[in-house]
């Protein structure tokens, strides 16, 4: 279940706006994590990298395949969750908390506002 306050991409990334700042935290929904199966490798981008909305910014690997993750907003990577790469079990254990992947400083916060909300994401999963 995706926490209500989060926004989501159709490609199963979740986004959270940190208070009233322009920083967006990004992670993977529990649905995506379940689909991936055992996650074995995560290659994080570097702090300072520029990302574009709906372009890939990161790769996550399960036993069977590699998957790209897509940025919910355009901007600059300001923080990466390095410890996550050594503790991949966190994806299953705490997908919306400790398993955050990156924090992006959004160029245009309107991009965040236009994202689908958690409820709509869950609905279109079922559909």
């Amino acid at each position: 279940m995706v926490p209500k306050e989060l926004r989501c991409l159709q490609t199963h990334e979740w986004a959270k706006r940190e208070e009233d700042s322009g920083i967006i935290t990004v992670g993977l929904t529990d649905y995506a994590i379940e689909q991936l199966g055992d996650i074995v490798f995560l290659e994080l981008p570097a702090v300072g990298d520029k990302v574009t909305k709906e372009s890939e910014f990161c790769t996550i690997e399960s036993v069977k395949a590699a998957s790209d993750l897509y940025a919910p907003v355009s901007g600059e990577i300001v923080e990466i969750n390095e410890s996550l790469t050594e503790n991949l079990e966190l994806f299953k254990a705490d997908p919306y908390g400790q398993a955050w992947i990156v924090k992006i400083k959004a160029e245009d916060i309107a991009e965040f506002e236009s994202l689908m909300n958690a409820e709509d994401y869950e609905k279109q999963l079922k559909g």
Partner: protein
């Protein structure tokens, strides 16, 4: 769910998979479990740590029958189907005519007239059609697709054998050798079992069950602790084991080119060029690949065009996951492609070797298989291009090893090429010398004064014997040969040899008396060397009439398999290797093993033995074992051989029991042995040497064989025959001849007393209770599958020295479940029946009670440091002192 699923085939276990919440996927047209709730990683670890249960019913099962079936299989498959006896299976390949593979497969012979071929699910239709076309050229062959009616399960992992043993009705698992088969039943349902698998686990079983009853078998196995494993982990397990998967390591490569069969390192076991096969599909192309393969193995790349790339194991050293299709570079040039790759888990081992323990912790590692330029070798560095980035990698010989059952052992890159910490060799030489002398004294005191030494192949020689060993003839040469020009007189090559010449003659005399025979050869320095000299003499003897042609080797040997207690030197992988011919049918050394009784695997099944002798007509029969509880049936074997007038040498390798020759044990020549060999340092009192004996006389037709024995001893086996220990051996022979009656009786009685006492203390003693468990100096204890090394270590920590031993049902020495003990040495130090009874309690305290009794054992040993059955007493004190003085 949905319409798509309706087109897929399902196995009989579908409901079980669904009930377990498996993630189902389509695989080769089948609806199969990719993984269950635990996930791929946990399932992989479950197979390596405990036991994994795999539904592999999607694989194709084709049955071939008919009077022409063998010719058909020889033509359409690459391996030698004629080598399969009933109860055996083999890896094989369905070749095309270009040297590529249509599929790889396993051929099982559960029944006399029926061959079962298991093929990859993805290729079943293609294989079927290929066989149909091929069948047109053959008559009298019937092919059936049994995929739907015969279900197939795979049970793999260290606990798998225990699980199966508990549920099979008649405890008839296949022999503990890979590829062996058996027919058994579980809850009354017939189950065909093969010791085969696709995981690299040494304990591996594949089960074939009729569809209707198969689910019940699944349920039983789960109840016993097997964990369901899906196709995801099946793939990671086989990748770790380096096993090829059609479509990746066989078939077509990343560039669309056909992968030569011999690119896969397992193909050498699947392809046979035996003349029994005659011509077969792809033979010519495969032969060329094989020639190239053989040369490449030796670093000769002259035929590399026929085999430009080989499948190699590659460990990714940098960060990244290699996937099929990724390019691989070596020395900055493109060298090939990854064929299979992913991240796999491994259980973390703590401690080393046999003392290692598998912890609950895990690691992950990035590994792959790759098709790479044939010149690349182990330890070469490479780069894998992963998602556009070049990541460092290393070519390794393997990712996993299966030869130390019951576990498969992951081989980690960091450990494989770790630099060994060098031994302390940098100290000043005086310090080294002092240290060595001190250590030698400590070790001698420990073994001789504080330990109970029960290793059956060991003995301590008397002080007199030991002193004589280091007297002057040690360090000298005394080569001699019988010269016909001098009426077979022994002529010595060197001066200063009169003393040792006399000693040798006296020694032969003492041993002739002891053994009751006419001839003894004493120049061998070990039992194994004695055996080698006999084998060599036989080859020499067979070729006596024609010395010009390539000598022919021994055509067929009947021996004890090492698993059943046979000695190393009688095995084709031991001393026998160079002297036994290859059987053209099996393409293996022409050795057949003594059958053993089902109720007592330590005893020869004499009735079955008679049939084997009649069928195989061995030229050499080797009796004698290193795990021995019974007399050898020499007289009966002699009878069978004479019955059919077989020209055969009966050899009794008495290694362990040479010191027991006599009326209370065995008199080999009276019973009909042709040749006796022996170690002179086990139950015999002597120094560490070997002897060969026979009762032939000059007028015997086989006399030239004895002359060959003499020649193959010297100059065949030795130049220097260690005259020092030869001198000691003469003293030991005097001791044996003088004290044998009392000693032998005491040894045999002590062994029975020890066995009985151990049994009464609650331990599991092997052997026949009706004869007191043992007829020799040995006692065998069962301590539980795989527990041997640990218990042996614990006993050593308590100063009781025995050895761990693989029992007749164990796959290898690392899985040893027995302890082997012998009473001869301690009998020599004066222990009697009641003392062994006391010892049995101490052994029990350690084995069962896990107590620390080291001090008690040292105290116990202190009561037995005076050697018996030797010459002692005041009359010898003066001369012994003189001997000490002149060293």
């Amino acid at each position: 769910m949905g319409e798509k699923m309706g087109q897929l085939q399902t196995t009989v276990f579908l409901e079980r998979h669904l009930k377990l919440g498996a993630k189902m996927v389509e695989f080769a047209g089948w609806n199969m479990p990719l993984h269950y709730k635990p996930g791929i990683i946990q399932e992989h670890l479950a197979a390596r740590r405990r036991a994994g249960l795999f539904d592999v019913s999607h694989m194709g099962r084709l049955v071939f029958r008919g009077s022409g079936v063998l010719a058909f299989l020889q033509h359409t498959l690459t391996n030698n189907a004629a080598a399969l006896e009933v109860g055996e299976s083999q890896y094989t390949i369905i070749p095309n005519s270009n040297g590529g593979a249509i599929d790889d497969a396993y051929l099982y012979r559960f029944f006399e007239d029926e061959y079962l071929l298991v093929v990859n699910a993805a290729n079943r239709q293609k294989d079927w059609e290929h066989f149909l076309r091929s069948l047109e050229k053959f008559g009298q062959v019937e092919m059936q697709d049994r995929t739907q009616e015969l279900a197939m399960l795979s049970l793999q992992g260290p606990l798998s054998k225990g699980i199966l043993t508990r549920i099979v009705d008649s405890a008839q698992l296949p022999e503990p050798i890979r590829n062996s088969l058996s027919t058994t039943s579980i809850e009354g349902v017939e189950v065909l079992i093969g010791r085969t698998g696709y995981t690299g686990e040494p304990l591996c079983f594949e089960l074939f069950i009729r569809g209707k009853e198969a689910v019940m078998i699944w349920d039983e196995l789960i109840e016993q602790g097997a964990q369901p494993v899906g196709l995801g982990a099946r793939d990671t397990l086989r990748l770790e084991a380096g096993l090829p998967l059609y479509g990746h390591e066989l078939g077509v490569d990343a560039e669309g080119k056909e992968i030569p069969v011999f690119s896969s390192r397992f193909s050498q076991y699947a392809v046979s060029f035996s003349p029994l096969k005659g011509d077969f599909v792809g033979r010519e192309a495969l032969w060329r690949q094989f020639e190239a393969f053989k040369r490449i193995k030796k670093g000769d790349y002259s035929l590399i065009a026929d085999l430009p790339r080989l499948i190699m194991s590659v460990a990714v050293a940098g960060k990244g996951v290699a996937r099929a299709g990724d390019k691989v570079f070596a020395d900055d040039s493109h060298a090939g492609y990854v064929t299979s790759g992913t991240m796999v888990p491994y259980g973390i081992w703590q401690g080393k070797a046999l003392a290692g323990q598998l912890s609950e912790e895990k690691g992950m590692r990035s590994i792959c298989l790759a098709l790479l330029d044939s010149e690349l070798r182990d330890e070469d560095e490479a780069e894998v291009e992963i998602r556009g980035k070049k990541i460092q990698a290393v070519i390794v010989p393997y990712h996993l090893r299966s030869e130390a059952p019951p576990w498969a052992h992951p081989i980690l890159l960091d450990e494989l090429y770790k630099e060994q910490i060098p031994l302390r060799r940098d100290q000043a030489v005086k310090k080294k010398v002092g240290f060595l002398l001190k250590k030698a004294i400590e070790n001698t005191i420990w073994r001789q004064k504080e330990c109970i030494n029960l290793i059956p192949s060991e003995q301590t020689a008397s002080s007199m014997t030991r002193m004589l060993c280091i007297m002057d003839p040690a360090g000298r040469y005394a080569e001699h040969k019988q010269v016909k020009a001098f009426y077979d007189l022994d002529v010595f090559y060197y001066q200063g040899t009169d003393f040792i010449a006399e000693v040798e003659e006296l020694l032969e005399g003492e041993l002739r008396d002891y053994l009751g025979c006419t001839e003894v050869e004493t120049r061998l320095v070990s039992g194994q060397m004695a055996n080698a000299a006999v084998f060599s003499a036989m080859v020499d003897y067979f070729n006596i009439a024609d010395r010009k042609i390539e000598p022919r080797r021994i055509r067929r040997v009947l021996n004890h398999h090492i698993i059943k207690g046979g000695h190393l030197s009688a095995q084709p992988m031991g001393t026998l290797r160079d002297f036994v011919a290859r059987d053209p049918k099996t393409e293996r050394p022409a050795v057949v093993n003594f059958p053993v009784l089902a109720e007592n695997p330590y005893k020869i099944d004499i009735a079955a033995c008679r049939e084997i002798i009649a069928e195989y007509k061995p030229e050499l029969i080797i009796l004698g074992k290193s795990v021995t509880l019974h007399r050898e049936p020499v007289a009966q074997i002699r009878h069978f051989v004479d019955e059919i007038s077989l020209d055969c040498i009966i050899m009794y390798d008495m290694a362990h029991v040479l010191g027991l020759v006599g009326p209370c044990f065995q008199e080999p020549f009276k019973e009909g042995a042709d040749i006796v060999t022996g170690s002179t340092h086990k139950t015999f009192f002597g120094t560490q040497r070997g002897i060969i004996a026979s009762d032939y006389q000059r007028d015997n037709l086989r006399w030239p064989l004895w002359e060959a024995v003499r020649r193959r001893a010297f100059p065949g086996s030795v130049s220097n025959h260690h005259p020092g220990t030869l001198l000691g051996l003469l003293m030991a022979a005097y001791e044996m001849n003088c004290f044998k009656d009392q000693y032998q009786k005491r040894v045999l009685s002590n062994a029975k007393a020890l066995a009985q006492a151990l049994k009464e203390s609650g331990l599991n003693v092997a052997g026949d209770p009706n004869v007191g468990y043992t007829e020799t100096h040995q006692v065998i204890l069962n301590v539980g599958y795989g527990k041997g090394p640990e218990v042996a270590r614990r006993l050593e920590d308590n100063n009781i020295i025995i050895n761990y031993q693989a029992g007749p049902e164990e796959e290898g020495f690392t899985a040893s479940g027995c302890l082997r003990m012998g009473v001869a040495e301690m009998t020599r130090f004066g222990m009697e029946e009641k003392d062994f009874q006391e010892l049995a309690q101490l052994i029990r305290d350690v084995v069962v009670g896990a107590k620390n009794v080291k001090e008690e054992v040292a105290g116990f040993r202190a009561r037995f440091t005076d050697m018996k059955y030797c010459f002692s007493g005041k009359e010898f004190d003066a001369v012994m002192e003189k001997l000490h003085g002149i060293i």
